[in-house]
Amino acid sequence: MADLDVQERRNLSASATAHRGDRIFNRTITTAAFSALFVLAGIAIFLGAQTIPVLQTQGLSFLTTTAWDINTDPPTAGIWGMLYGSVLLAVVALVIAVPASLMMSIFMVFLAPKKLASMLTNLIDLMAAIPSVILGLWAFYVLNPTAEVWQQLLNQYLGWIPIFQNASGNFLGTPFIAGFVLAIMMIPIVTSVTREVLSRTPPDLVNASEALGCSMWTMLRYVALPYGRGGIVGGIMLGLGRALGETIAVFFVLKIVFDTNWYNIIESGGGSVATLIVSRFGEISGPYELQLLLASGFFLFIMTLIVNVLANLIVNRTGRLQK
């Protein structure tokens, strides 16, 4: 035994890639992988460079206040209400889209007959293909009047809950409608990911739980959902990424106000960084306002990065063992 310990260890990882074709392949792949990183870094640097002068003139109040007065001298701008608004819309969209998507995918994987399931799958994929501008137009002309009635009802019956308060009597251009449109955009993404994940629940485990006499619900609760948790959270985050960055559909239905709408989701007016950018861009007053918009874009970018990091943390944390 002692002999073995003094032997020199040979580096096997070097010889593992000794094959010439493999070596070339490895390098190509590695380059490709890094180029994605370069693109990302390029965008960050470009936006970051525009952000520095903005922060120099506006200071941190660019992030902490809500204002957009270009005609004053110096102009004052703050995007807090927009950043917060983006998150509020995303939360509304999540609350609607996640349960809906989960229920649909559970139905398709575990309950629906095969034919119906594949029909639904195709239908939902089609839903994902609707251009957001069309969805925006639809929301403007069709959803708006309908949702106005829903919101009035919500206000009438659940108005004692702070989020359903409405002082102005105006139920158009609300975060609720915008969030609802975002939910419609998220549902196909989240549903198709969760459907895929759930359909990969190992049949062995389904068998095991069936043989232990558990109901459909407990099987989902303790077997299928924990098994697919990482993938499901990933799917939700994909959808969330879309919701945070979505511009044009929100543009049609949300009234942008430079004020922080904290929680009155059925009150007219809210914020969204992406929509701010597109709505100002057309009537831009000069190079400085362009810089302001690019800086807003930079923080939108940072916000989506933070969401992704948080998502990773959640996925890792929930990967723990069940007792």
Partner: protein
């Protein structure tokens, strides 16, 4: 299945100690035929399983052994297109009658599959107790249950120091014994085993056979196996299934294991047990 019924059987057993009592029938299949869609895969199976006996089901691949044992605890009905005729009597009562809850049946009649299937995201301990959790069954003293069932499954000494590690970290043979412990934790009266050793090495196989012999003092065991020696080693009774081409599977012969292997009445049985088949 009410608990009252379980008790009544126990009482019966303790009072009567004649050999006839030892042969109380726990589970019985009466004229069972099975279909998948239009296709009939099993026909006219009659078989009875005495309490605390071990029965081996043997026969070539595709003759319906797995299908048959899945009808015994109502797992069959979960497959698409599944249909059944005949009766399965558990403690004298048809398990397919309308007022029987399949969950109770599956708890009373446990199952171990060919491929070890512990829940990979649960700890070893969590796996053992998972049946209680999943079915909502209440039992106190979880620590005792874990130790008892793992001991019964022959795994306790190997895992007692790492009960909080993932079930998926164990070797295949250990996983299979873990799965047996999991099935035992809900205190089944019958244990169905579908080729439990087919993925295991000889040493693990022997361990599981030893486990089966120990368990059969308290549980009725029905085991599907392709391993003739295994049938001889563990089973009191053996049933030989066979499906002729394009025909449903049938039981060709059944009886005491010694008879089936030592003195089979049917030529096809003789050929099969001597490995001269196909």
């Amino acid at each position: 299945m009410s608990t009252a019924e379980f008790e009544s059987v126990d009482v019966l057993e303790s009072e009567i100690t004649t050999p006839a009592a030892a042969a109380t029938t726990e589970l019985e299949a009466r004229n069972v035929s099975v279909w998948f869609g239009q296709r009939k895969v099993l026909e006219g199976v009659n078989m009875s399983f005495p309490k605390n006996s071990v029965t081996a089901l043997i026969g070539p691949s595709g003759c319906g052994k797995s299908t048959f044992i899945r009808t015994l605890n109502r797992l069959h009905e979960l497959l698409p297109g599944a249909a059944l005729a005949g009766e399965i009597l558990y403690e004298g009562r048809d398990i397919y009658s309308r007022d029987v809850d399949p969950v109770h049946i599956r708890l009373a009649i446990g199952m171990v599959f060919q491929k070890p299937n512990p829940f990979p995201s649960m700890t070893i301990r969590g796996n053992v107790l998972s049946g209680l959790k999943l079915s909502g069954m209440k039992r106190s003293n979880h620590d005792d249950i874990v130790e008892e069932t793992l001991t019964a499954a022959g795994l306790w000494t190997e895992v007692k120091d790492r009960l909080d590690r993932a079930g998926g970290e164990l070797s295949g043979g250990q996983q299979q014994r873990l799965v047996i412990a999991r099935a035992l934790a809900v205190q089944p009266h019958v244990l169905l085993m579908d080729e439990p050793c087919s993925a295991l090495d000889p040493a693990s196989t022997l361990k599981i056979e030893e486990t089966i012999r120990q368990l059969s003092k308290e549980v009725t065991i029905i085991i599907v196996t392709h391993n003739m020696q295994q049938a001889v080693r563990v089973a009191d009774n053996t049933a030989f299934f066979l499906a002729a081409e394009n025909e449903p599977g049938r039981v060709i012969e059944q009886g005491a294991t010694t008879e089936i292997f030592g003195n089979p009445q049917d030529e096809r049985t003789l050929d099969y047990v001597n490995g001269r088949f196909g």
